[in-house]
């Protein structure tokens, strides 16, 4: 498998006048092409910082981050898609205008690209809402629209920053299932940050466990399920709770 993203002894600290707070120390891991990797860890362990670093929006203070073996430096070139906790759909734009925001910013809004994005809206059941305002959509539909906005630039890597945590539990399960299936269906590589262990087990191929702040990689656990199980189906298998317990122990073990 091809190495897509590589983090080599990455470190990052936050600076305030009263002092320096190390957020991440010596982080090493690799994400391979087509993989779904989840990062879990206690709150405040630097998970979101790790995503900002991986997206190129922040520059690491130590170590290096490589994308396809090349140093990652420019601010979001569109090869890395970022999905947030909130959908951030703009209320003054229709759904169509919202999902086309990326190509519009990059001046890549060709007729062909537009067609491709509209096709995605069709595939994921949002086409009839293309002229609607975001407020007319349910929370799950909005998050789906946000994913299509991210995919519109055809990113090589998707970064998901707790994208389901603002939804209620019911919606969270279905949207998690939805989005997980879309990402697998589109053959995308994804890096998910979450504090929800069952979400990590239901979606990921590998789970990276971070320690308390300053975050370091505690362990990397490979998750194996029979192929082609949807996230919801995974939750119904007997292995599911074993993985959950394994992660739970890993998170709560103090060295």
């Amino acid at each position: 498998m091809e190495k897509l993203l590589e983090l080599n002894s990455v470190g990052y600290s936050y600076h305030t006048p009263s002092g320096e707070t190390p957020a991440l120390i010596n982080i090493n891991f690799t994400v391979y092409q087509g993989e779904f990797v989840a990062i879990v860890g206690p709150s405040g362990c630097g998970k979101s910082t790790l995503l900002s670093l991986s997206s190129g929006l922040l520059e690491p203070e130590h170590g290096s981050i490589l994308l396809y073996g090349q140093k990652l430096f420019q601010k979001g070139s569109g090869t890395i898609g970022y999905m947030f906790q909130h959908d951030h759909l703009f209320e003054w734009r229709t759904i169509e205008q919202n999902v086309l925001l990326g190509p519009e910013i990059q001046n890549k809004l060709t007729e062909q690209r537009r067609e491709a994005v509209l096709d995605m809206l069709k595939t994921y059941g949002l086409y009839k809402f293309k002229d609607a305002k975001p407020s007319q959509l349910s929370g799950g539909m909005r998050q789906r629209a946000a994913l299509i906005r991210t995919l519109a630039l055809e990113p090589k890597l998707l970064l998901l920053d707790e994208p389901f945590s603002a939804l209620d539990y019911q919606t969270r399960l279905t949207v998690g299932d939805d989005i997980g299936s879309i990402i697998r269906g589109e053959n995308k590589t994804a890096l998910l940050v979450t504090h929800d262990l069952s979400e990590a087990v239901s979606l990921a191929d590998r789970v990276i466990v971070l320690s308390k702040r300053p975050g370091t990689v505690k362990n990397i656990i490979t998750i194996q399920f029979p192929e082609n199980l949807s996230p919801l189906e995974r939750r119904n298998t007997p292995e599911f709770k074993d993985y959950f317990n394994l992660l739970w122990k890993e998170m709560n073990s103090d060295e």
Partner: protein, 265 residues
Amino acid sequence: MSEISLAQQKYLTARKRHRRTVVCSRCLIFVLFLGLWETAAVTGLIDSFIFSSPSKVLLCFYQMLIDKSLISHIAITLMETVVSFLLVLLCALGITILLWFHPRLSETLDPYLVILNSLPKSALAPLLIVWLGANYKTIIVTGMSVAIFGSILSLYTSFSAVDAEKIKLIYSLGGNKYHVMTKVILPSNIPVLFSLMKVNIGLCLVGVIIGEFIAARSGLGYLIIYGSQVFKLDWVIMSIVLLCLMAMLLYGLLGFLEKRYLKRL
């Protein structure tokens, strides 16, 4: 349409009655006030030479309308107000955008803006006459000076209050600072701009009247100051009433535009 239930009907009637009471009370206050004022003036309870009376104000309005002097006074004040309002809008927006693009500049200038904003602007008017002359320029600049600094400060605050993640989204889609401004900050601040405009129109009117008090040969502010000097209090009160109407009209117009924008959203 389906049938309206009894409870819904009851609710609707109660609502209608409430609305009617409010509107009637408003009208009643207006009529009572005018009536009392007129009777007091006619019966000699108050001196109509000093306090004028509704009928005298109306008569004065009619006479000045006939000899065509009033229209030009109103037009001049209206023009000065609208021009200073538009200039405030343009300058405040331009300066705030500039400050947003240069955080260091805005941090440097912040105390100066705060001082200028809290300064009583009428204190500047005599200075402006000396610099710009006793003409419409002074009046328009006085009108602007009342509103502009506050506008910049509050616009800048709401520019800075835009959700940091929305800005991060633009960067993650490959945008730059210019995209952040045009795709997020400006569109999300249009409602703020409208409420600022509603405040500013009143402030500009205040500034223009201050300017006219000291530097004008025409306009409603001039009419007020001149009328009080020659004891033509009909003029003064009529001008005040006309200013009330003008303020209402301009505010209403902006409210109407705002509603139309919000409906489109």
